[in-house]
């Protein structure tokens, strides 16, 4: 595996292998000295053309725990402001000796494009409405490890609630969850559902109340106000009345049900309840797991192919 651009690039076997590698990385993260020399001498550039707190810091932390060197590029303080193109930016960084680019961009397909301009590995850290594969891996990791069913989501019902249309997280999660056997229900107003979902293998519901009693996982999406034009959007108050998690609704969740959110949370819009009051909340666990999962991805891309089998002999 050279790049990670989309969940569609991963076979089920590769997903499971990455999750197992993340288990291994989780042990490192519990140590008092949580740093290993595995990627010493490798350089990882985090190249973010769009704002991020957790994904950027998570990737950078993951790279540092594996002893890679990290270059941090932020469009806001770079020569992009002098008109430097994406291609020139990538080629310039490549010339400095980068082994992996971690890329976030507002345009779908930008990470794929970047693979044409560099020999380094490219990791998609979110491109437009398209894909966010490490988020899907960390969500899958969180769900499978919470339920103790490590290599499958068979028998689990997962409701993804909110702005599906503008959500790369939803696209990546839906692909990975369904391929691992979960039943996925999309809960959104029709204006916030993508137009062609017939082939996604999902069902839909028009209110959170229809599903809340029966789901194993309630996955709340962020209302992406920055991507939405005023015209096609229902009023926030109307949205909240059908799609927000409230104290009353939370009380109707099954005792074992998980509540997840990719962050950042819009308190008072999709989350009308304090997550710390929800016993099933895995929102902070998602953040913790994100580091282990990204360590697994970086190690797999930069350290060799884990699907290869070892030759015998003790050295």
């Amino acid at each position: 595996m050279k790049h990670l651009l989309s969940t569609h690039d991963l076979s089920v076997e590769q997903m499971i292998s990455l999750l197992e590698t993340a288990d291994y990385m989780s042990e490192i993260n519990t140590r008092s000295i949580s740093k290993v020399p595995a990627l010493r001498g490798k350089t990882v550039a985090s190249v973010f053309f769009e704002d991020s707190t957790r994904t950027r810091l998570s990737f950078e932390t993951a790279a540092k725990r594996l002893s890679a060197d990290v270059l941090t590029f932020s469009a806001a303080s770079s020569s992009v402001n002098k008109g430097e193109s994406l291609r020139d930016t990538i080629e310039t960084l490549s010339a400095m000796g980068v082994d992996a680019f971690v890329v976030r961009h507002k345009s779908s397909g930008a990470p794929q494009q970047i693979t044409q301009w560099t020999n380094a590995s490219v990791l998609n850290a979110g491109d437009g409405w398209h894909q966010h594969p490490t988020q899907a891996l960390l969500d899958t990791y969180t769900i499978t490890r919470s339920f103790g069913q490590l290599d499958s989501m068979k028998g689990r019902t997962i409701a993804i609630v909110g702005d599906i249309k503008h959500s790369r997280v939803a696209r990546s999660d839906i692909d990975m969850f369904t391929r691992l056997g979960a039943e996925v229900i999309l809960v959104a107003p029709s204006a916030l559902l993508p137009s062609h979902i017939e082939n996604w293998g999902v069902t839909t519901a028009s209110s959170i109340d229809e599903v809340i009693n029966s789901v194993d996982v309630l996955y709340m999406l962020r209302m992406q106000r920055e991507r939405i034009s005023a015209s096609n959007m229902p009023s926030l108050r109307e949205y909240s009345s059908h799609y927000a998690l409230t104290v009353e609704r939370a009380a109707r969740l099954s005792p074992h049900a998980l509540v997840m959110h990719p962050g950042p949370i819009n308190r008072g819009i999709e989350m009308m309840v304090d997550p710390s009051d929800l016993p099933g909340s895995r929102i902070l666990q998602q953040v913790t797991n994100g580091i282990a999962v990204r360590m697994a991805v970086l190690f797999t891309l930069l350290g060799g192919d884990l699907t290869a089998t070892a030759t015998g002999g003790t050295v």
Binding site: A38, G303, V315
Partner: protein
Amino acid sequence: MTTVSSQRSELLGEADIERAITRIAHEIIERNADLSVVVIIGMQTGGTWIAQRLRDAVSRIAPGNDLLLGAIDISMYRDDFSLRPRVLTAPTDITFDLTEKTVVLVDDVLFTGRTVRAALEALNDHGRPRAVQLAVMVDRGHRELPIRPDYVGKNIPTHFSDEVSVGPGGVAVMGLEKSQS
């Protein structure tokens, strides 16, 4: 006469392994006056069963001394990543601080010494041991680093390309080299 052949020699049997473990346990007890600071750490995965049996043997010979047992994986510490396929086996399992402990590091085969070098680095991430002693079932020679074992089940001269396999049932050497006979 020189022949080229693939041959497998059984060099130790199950009873020999048991005797070697008992002897090494006696040596550990003799060498460490204060057993309360001694911990046994097996290398994943070949050394862990030996570590477990060494710990049991120490408890049997010196009742009341149940040494702490751990396992260490060195996949993330190797210096030859690019030279071999990587498989993450079992993770490290050390639930105690190694600071001021005497660590008996246990592996099945001592060869170039690179695995032990990596293990010494890995151990330091779990505290600063007072001392580290090395116990191996087989020392097959061909060291590439200044590392020597403190406890050895059996010294077995080998060709560099031989394969040595160690298990509870015994030790075998698979030779693919020209051999003098």
